[in-house]
């Protein structure tokens, strides 16, 4: 029984600590500030916005 509660509380602390860590980090790096840049962060000069990146094999209009 003791073990059960130990596991549960260890997890609670772990979960809480990781939340605090994630939050502090998110705020510090401005994750909640610039939404448009966030949305664009998966694109880069090699695969910019506007480039379609998937097609059936042999059927795509490969540029």
């Amino acid at each position: 029984m003791f073990l059960v509660y130990l596991v549960i509380w260890a997890f609670t602390l772990l979960a809480g600590a990781s939340a605090v860590w994630a939050l502090a980090w998110a705020v510090q790096t401005g994750q909640f500030r610039d939404f448009r840049a966030g949305a664009a962060s998966i694109f880069d000069e090699g695969e910019p916005v506007g480039r379609v990146t998937d097609a059936f094999p042999g059927e795509g209009k490969h540029p």
Binding site: V7, I42, G60
Partner: protein
């Protein structure tokens, strides 16, 4: 900053940005092996599914050995699909997405491939033990307790890898997918360990064990498969069509509301059962609140896709991903409605629930993983898929199979529930009523299995590099990093 401009690098980072090719190459060994293992389990799980489905209408089929009896084949099917196919495909996609989104190489190049081996052995051992009769008897947690140690170890390594990638990231912004993936990586081991502990602990008594059971089982879908699936959708849809997510702030709202509400919904599996009324009510409220994250996700994906639906014709990834995303909306609405007492009075204990579960795990999550595999694997293997025709067979067989499965069992399940609530109808008459629909389920299972075999054939040829060398849009320039 405008949305059309790529995020500039933070200043002062050492060296040049890694190219996508380098990142993909670093993922090859681990991710390909996770995906290939997942496909093998998908085939095993399909075989077990067909066995179980046939046994439901033809009970004498292969019934002369206890290890092949329905009550063992069915949990073996569920466990191979959840822990073999779903989780291993999920981990593969998750690691690749994190490497790409952080723009770093996949870390732990020795330890991560080892987890593939351990994970496979764990699922194999657990499945054999279930067939031998050593199941724990707890739905979704049938694997013997010791399996926890192996999968727990693998998850620990995966958490370390995730944290390392995050710490080393070369991108200033955390993309919404990373929120979901981080949630999944942290939530799943937490759920799994507590699920086992609460089930085994001596001082969790009687029906509190049932509450623990469904808290766990519902959250495996909600806090493990769902975030991985949504992270995939949030990456694949914008990436394939080349257009940023429509409302990025909405996507973050969707994440937080999912995190807050989903985990309270599990006890709706126990409506009408011998539990304190408030406990079930909490489950119902949690289920209702799920409308918020579901609607935000649905609206967002639809607005991102708006004007781009023609790509469905040309992109296999987009086809699977969009079908999956739409299924997510449907299954979530259905789930919330099923939690209403009046609906549940009929639908509970029937095939309706089975259809609903498959809509979630299959039409949403599995289709999402198919879509991701079509995008990821060619880039890892530097090879094109060898045949567009087999991809089409895969898509139509699985889509039509799933549609047939869901329509048939949803209808039959609802009627079954109505008949069960009419005490004048003998029970065996209800059994008789469901039989044709159970046959339609087997037919649907055959269709889906045809799709899975096509997919396995494609993957087999891909890893043997039998397709054309990839010169597609993703590897536009084979530039070496400076």
């Amino acid at each position: 900053m405008t949305p059309a401009v790529a995020q500039p690098l933070p200043e002062g980072l050492p060296g040049d940005r890694l190219s996508r090719i380098q990142i993909d190459r670093s993922c090859r060994q681990t991710v390909v092996w996770y995906m290939v293992s997942a496909v093998a389990w998908l085939l095993a799980g399909s075989l077990l599914a067909l066995l179980a489905s046939i046994k439901m209408h033809t009970p004498g089929f292969l019934a002369d050995a206890d290890w092949l009896t329905f009550g063992r084949v069915r949990p073996a099917h569920l466990s191979t699909m959840i822990y073999g196919w779903g989780s291993m495909a999920g981990v593969g996609v998750l690691l690749w997405l994190q490497a790409r989104l952080s723009r770093v190489r996949l870390p732990l190049p020795l330890l991560l491939p080892v987890t593939v081996v351990i994970w496979n052995l764990a699922v194999l051992y657990g499945t054999v033990r279930i067939l031998q009769g050593a199941s724990t008897g707890i739905e979704w947690l049938e694997f013997p307790v010791e399996v926890l140690a192996f999968i727990g170890f693998c998850m620990a390594v995966i958490i370390v890898a995730s944290v390392l990638m995050f710490v080393r990231r070369q991108v200033k912004h955390t993309y919404v997918s990373q929120w979901y993936l981080f949630g999944a990586v942290l939530w799943f081991p937490f759920l799994y360990i507590l699920g086992v502990v609460l089930s085994e602990a001596g001082d969790v008594r009687g029906v509190a064990k049932a509450a623990a059971n469904w808290w766990f089982a519902h959250n495996v879908l909600g806090l493990w498969f769902t975030p991985i699936g949504l992270a995939t959708a949030y990456y694949m849809i914008p990436k394939v069509i080349g257009r940023p997510v429509h409302s990025y702030h909405l996507s973050l709202l969707g994440f937080w509301t999912l995190a807050i509400f989903y985990n309270w919904a599990g006890t709706h599996h126990l409506i009408g059962g011998p539990l304190p009324a408030w406990l079930v009510t909490v489950g119902i409220v949690g289920s209702m609140m799920m409308f918020i994250p579901v609607i935000t996700v649905a609206v967002n994906h639809h607005l991102t896709m708006a004007g781009n639906f023609h790509h469905l014709r040309t992109s296999p990834t987009l086809r699977f991903v969009v079908v999956a995303a739409m299924s997510y909306t449907v299954v979530s609405f259905q789930g919330s409605l099923t939690a209403l007492r009046a609906v549940n009075e009929v639908s509970h204990f029937t095939h309706y629930t089975i259809a609903h579960a498959h809509l979630g795990v299959y039409a949403f999550f599995t289709m999402m993983m198919f879509g991701a595999a079509y995008y990821i694997l060619p880039r890892l293997m530097n090879t094109e898929w060898h045949s567009a025709r087999w991809i089409r067979v895969h898509f139509w067989a699985t889509s039509l199979g799933m549609a047939l499965y869901w329509l048939g069992l949803t209808w039959a399940g609802w009627r079954q529930g109505e008949m069960m609530n009419d005490p004048n109808i003998p029970f065996l008459a209800i059994v008789e009523y469901t039989k044709p629909w159970l046959h339609s389920r087997s037919l649907a299972g055959v269709l889906m299995t045809i799709g899975h075999v096509s997919f396995a054939w494609l993957v087999w040829n891909l890893v043997r590099q039998r397709g054309a060398a990839l010169i597609g849009p993703t590897l536009l320039k084979r530039r070496k990093s400076a």
